[in-house]
Amino acid sequence: MKEKKLTKIALLCSLIGILLLLIIAEQQDISASNIKNITNATLDQTVQIKGKITSIKETPAVTIAQVQDSTGFITVIMFRKEGAILTKGMLVEVEGMVKPYNDKLEIEAKLVKVF
């Protein structure tokens, strides 16, 4: 094997990789980890998002937070136990079910992890 052959194989790998990446990225959406991917299609499904708490409101029963990532923001509803230690500006990972509320979508959190 000569060096030229090796670099040719390497170049071919990269080109195939770029082509594959373009096709996949073109087709979708890919991950439900982005807030913008939470649509009616993900209703009643469990999703996972990561982002920053931009506002937070506590009521006797639930904590309501706005979580923002690079693609948008969404309301996250947490029951007392999960929402107890959260404050504005915290970076969190939320796993929960997508639910409709007043014509909008929100996440009912099952698990909230603070970074």
């Binding site: 060096e3 670099t7 990269s14 990789g17 594959l20 980890s33 990561k50 693609t71």
Partner: protein, 400 residues
Amino acid sequence: MLALELLLGLLIGCGMGIFTGITPGIHINLVSVLILSLSPWLLQYVSPLTLGLVIVGMTIVHTFLDSIPATFLGAPDSDEVLSVLPGHRLLLEGEGYEAVTRTVIGTLAAAILMVALTPVLIIGINYLYPLIKEKISIILLTLCIFFIWKEPRSKLWALLIFMLAGVLGIITLTFGLKDPLFPLFSGLFGTAGLLLSINDKVNIPEQKISFPEVTKKEGFSTITSAVITGSLCSMLPGLGPSQAAMIGAQFTKTMTGPTFLILNSALNMVNMMMSFVTLYAIDKGRNGAIVVVGQIIGKIGKEELLLLIAAVLIALGIGTYLTLALTKVFSKLMTKINYKKVCVSIIVFVTGLVVLLTGWQGIVIYLTATSLGLLPPLKNVGRSHMMGCLLLPIILFLLL
């Protein structure tokens, strides 16, 4: 737009891989954990997939490039030629470029074969893993006895080093440090070798730029053996490429030093690629950096796996070009620079990082690990017995 963001992320990762690859002591696992801790902040600006591809790019380029410091640094005195590693032996013969090129061939070939075999490997893992799941501790214990038994020079020292590393591993993992493996591995596998190298009078000869002759038969049997043993070993925790290399070497006839370079680098890549497969199939990544990719992306489905494979293919090309080009630069530089000063600056840099990241507890582990790391080369036994630092805790954890 997403494609562009993903490509950019991958390229940034490749850039970071250059830094981690050619700097001894900077491990991708460490950088990946740093990225993970910054991820909630970073994810406000980029998608999780992009961040995942940053780590993939870094990991692949790192896998290619880390053979440069492994070959060009840490070489012992040529009088100790019996215990010298194959890469160092070629370096001392003026063939450092050839040594690194062999690792490039191994890495690239193994990666291509692994990409092609991904569907088969997923089926294989899904079938085999449930069968061995309950017997992992016994398999690991048997393999550890096998590694010590196969030590050609001193079985007693091999056993002692394995046990000492194991005890050190148990203490380190129960210390409660954030990055316990960093001071442990830097000491065992990094600083110890560099310290010995400073002590020796190393004269690096003029380096030739020549391409190695690898016959089709040699390449085929080595890569096949790497893929089989590496894939099987990836189902077992604690077994790294060096243990897989010891098993793989048993199945490859006429295992010479230069062939071992291909085998070892191929196994590194198999280990990496299998982590994607195990993450997808059994939700377990065996490589620290890939585990972080899984944590950032979330669930790895078919599309995510395909995207990761696409990223690997792109990074393979970049890694190959970068390694060949940078090795030429290193080959010229090595004869001109003060070898001792380079080794000392790396030790100072790594020690500084240990202090910064892990504090006094880390330093205690680091110093103990460094002292232990001096033993294998001094006693002429394989350094891989020090992997007892992970294997012993895992076996005890599974058995007790």
